[in-house]
Symmetry: C2
DNA sequence: TACTATACATACATGTACGTATGTAACCGC
DNA sequence: GCGGTTACATACGTACATGTATGTATAGTA
């Protein structure tokens, strides 16, 4: 034997990365389902196939775990959306593409994390709340930029300030997608309709 | 003295009703802000100006308090919305009126209760979750009825099933209103736009 | 091969929030 | 006015979740 030894016995760094990934995914699903306070680290560890010891070996606290999950989700979200924005012909198309793909993205049970934690921590002075709000602000800023571009190009009629429209689009799409979980073809279609509606565009379909 | 004795010393039933109301309102605000698990009954009682003893004298458990809050909010919501539905000229106008007034309704910090608890308990097999889902189902059923009426009258173009549209409208409006808390003139306007958008109607403004 | 560090489990300590039991003062019917 | 009930406060027990300390086996290194 000794053959394929490179794969049979993973290195420590590989083990560490694997467990960390498993714990992060379990935590994301858990927060998504139960929220922050209701989710116990015991369940996170168990669902990942480990014990709480493993969890505390990788994350200093429940709070740090949540922060890591938020960062992880954001790092998964942007690489999906960024090309849609840069490849789109015009800002409106970009916004619609992001909305549709956000609906698709949220079909994974991972992604209610944002809304759940946002709802649970909004207004509080909590690090997790701040992280969530920061992530939201980045999306809103990007949306507002696109909306301004659309206004300048005459594609979006005048009306409320771009920032307000951006917050409306984000909230509307997120709320719709959460309420339409599982309605597979329609979640995407109606996400587009929310964008068109909030922006004051005529419906295309 | 002895004058105005009727107002100076309230009867027991009056005291009970007053405390119950104060506790319910404090609980509604609390759930709205902190969610279910994160809110402690100590804080509810304190903010209402009582002790936990008073709370447990009126409500058997935290769960029962939450159920009472859900019922109380629903009993506040429907009397506002029902006349809008019956007075409206057509189903689309009714839906828009409800959406706009829901935005106004949610300016009170009371009314995030629905979304917060819904997010926290969705999928769980918990009495509070069931109560929330029941309340949501009643709204969706009413919306679906209106949408069907609008389809029959040719006011709403064909597309996804009425129930799906109804869930989309509810989710979209709720999400938008939560994200637009405090944006006073725009929350109402954009709530209408979400309805128009999801239903596939041309934008009127 | 021996020695250390790392990955993870197990056991323990602490805090906190729920629920209950008990106490007290004010109200109500007789 | 008096016994009983009601409204509420205070004190207590208990369960559970977080965080910590300790133990063990395996990977890395000399």
């Amino acid at each position: 034997m000794g053959v394929t030894s490179a794969r049979a016995r993973p290195t420590q760094a590989q083990r560490r990365a694997r467990t960390r990934g498993a714990l992060l995914e379990a935590a994301a699903r858990g927060f998504s389902k139960d929220g922050y306070s209701a989710l116990t680290l015991e369940r996170v560890a168990a669902e990942a196939g480990y014990s709480r010891g493993a969890l505390y070996h990788q994350f200093a606290s429940k709070e740090e775990l949540a922060l890591a999950v938020v960062a992880w989700v954001e790092e998964t979200w942007w690489p999906v959306m960024a090309p849609l924005i840069s490849d789109a012909d015009d800002p409106v198309e970009a916004l619609i593409a992001v909305a549709r793909n956000h609906a698709v993205f949220c079909r994974r049970d991972i992604a209610r994390v944002h809304m759940v934690l946002s709802v649970e921590f909004s207004g509080q002075d909590h690090p997790v709340g701040r992280a969530i709000e920061d992530a939201g602000r980045r999306v809103v800023a990007e949306f507002a930029r696109l909306i301004e571009g659309g206004r300048d190009a005459g594609l979006i009629p005048p009306g409320p300030p771009p920032r307000v429209l951006a917050m409306g689009v984000l909230g509307g799409v997120e709320g719709l997608v959460i309420n339409l979980a599982g309605q597979v073809p329609f979640d995407e279609l109606l996400a587009e309709r929310v964008v068109r509606g909030v922006l004051g565009l005529p419906s295309a379909l």
